[in-house]
């Protein structure tokens, strides 16, 4: 079974929610190489959140695979390959990254293999009250019968049909005014 992770960063919220220039902030979560790339970037703020989003998406994929939670952003090593793809390395495991940067958000997916067929959608969310409901409703539109989304103890979401867990791997993300989900098609075998 192939896993997937995704992550969205609301850039407007990131501006106020975190101060990437705070002493220690970069050192705690980025490698020397990543820090250097951030500092020489034309848009360091955007570079910080792209790297962060890549690490976060890869981590979500990793948790599905290894079933253990932890907080170690620094050991997820980011490499940008193009203006929409990259790789995150964790020890000897590689995660394939696709990303999209708009004026308002950065959206990233991570998968264990390159070019996996997936469904993924990112969208604006008007208010933060019913985020989970809004995201789950969007997922429902891809299914002809009723589905339920339930998270397990590790926080990993699963798609259920008729109270049975489907083998589709799913990842959901929400930050500020943006939400997204991604799931892998043809994961039944």
């Amino acid at each position: 079974m192939l896993r997937i992770g995704n992550d969205i960063v609301d850039l407007n919220l990131a501006k106020t929610q975190s101060n990437w220039q705070r002493p220690g902030f970069l050192e705690k979560q980025f490698t020397q190489k990543e820090q250097a790339a951030i500092l020489k970037s034309e848009n360091p703020f955007e570079q910080v959140w792209l790297f962060w989003s890549m690490k976060e998406a890869a981590y979500k994929c990793h948790v599905q695979q290894f079933q253990k939670r932890f907080f170690a952003p620094k050991i997820f090593l980011c490499k940008i390959l193009s203006n929409q793809s990259g790789i995150v390395q964790f020890n000897n495991v590689f995660y394939y990254i696709k990303y999209r940067i708009s004026n308002n958000y950065i959206y990233t997916t991570a998968t264990e293999k390159n070019d996996i067929k997936m469904v993924s959608e990112s969208f604006f969310i008007d208010n933060n009250l019913n985020t989970t409901k809004i995201i789950d409703k969007k997922i429902q539109t891809y299914f002809s019968s009723v589905v339920q989304i339930k998270k397990n103890a590790l926080g990993i979401p699963f798609i259920y049909q008729n109270d049975e867990k489907t083998p589709k791997t799913l990842s959901k993300t929400h930050h500020g005014n943006y939400g997204a989900f991604a799931f892998i098609l043809d994961n039944e075998s």
Binding site: S18, W52, F70, F71, P73
Partner: protein
């Protein structure tokens, strides 16, 4: 420093980052920063930096890895302060 005192200081530290008021009201040793307080994972770094400042300790990568709950964080703070 006593556990209760550490938890009290930790409560003040996490307050600006919490997104689940209910979870914060019931904050205890068993509280998970992400599952119960819905803290954005990027803000976990802020919490770690705040903890370093408040308790005058250095948190290494191995310790940071475990800092997802109040219990684990209190344990790490105690270890570092006694080291």
């Amino acid at each position: 420093m006593k556990k209760e005192e550490i938890i009290q200081k930790l409560t003040t530290i996490v307050k600006p980052y919490i997104q689940n008021e209910e979870g914060f009201k019931n904050m205890s040793e068993e509280t998970d920063f992400i599952n119960d307080l819905e803290i954005n994972s990027a803000n976990l770094v802020d919490i770690i930096l705040d903890v370093e400042d408040e308790f005058d300790i250095h948190i290494d990568n191995d310790s940071m890895e475990k800092m997802l709950s109040v219990k684990a964080t209190v344990g790490i703070i105690q270890d570092k302060m006694n080291a």
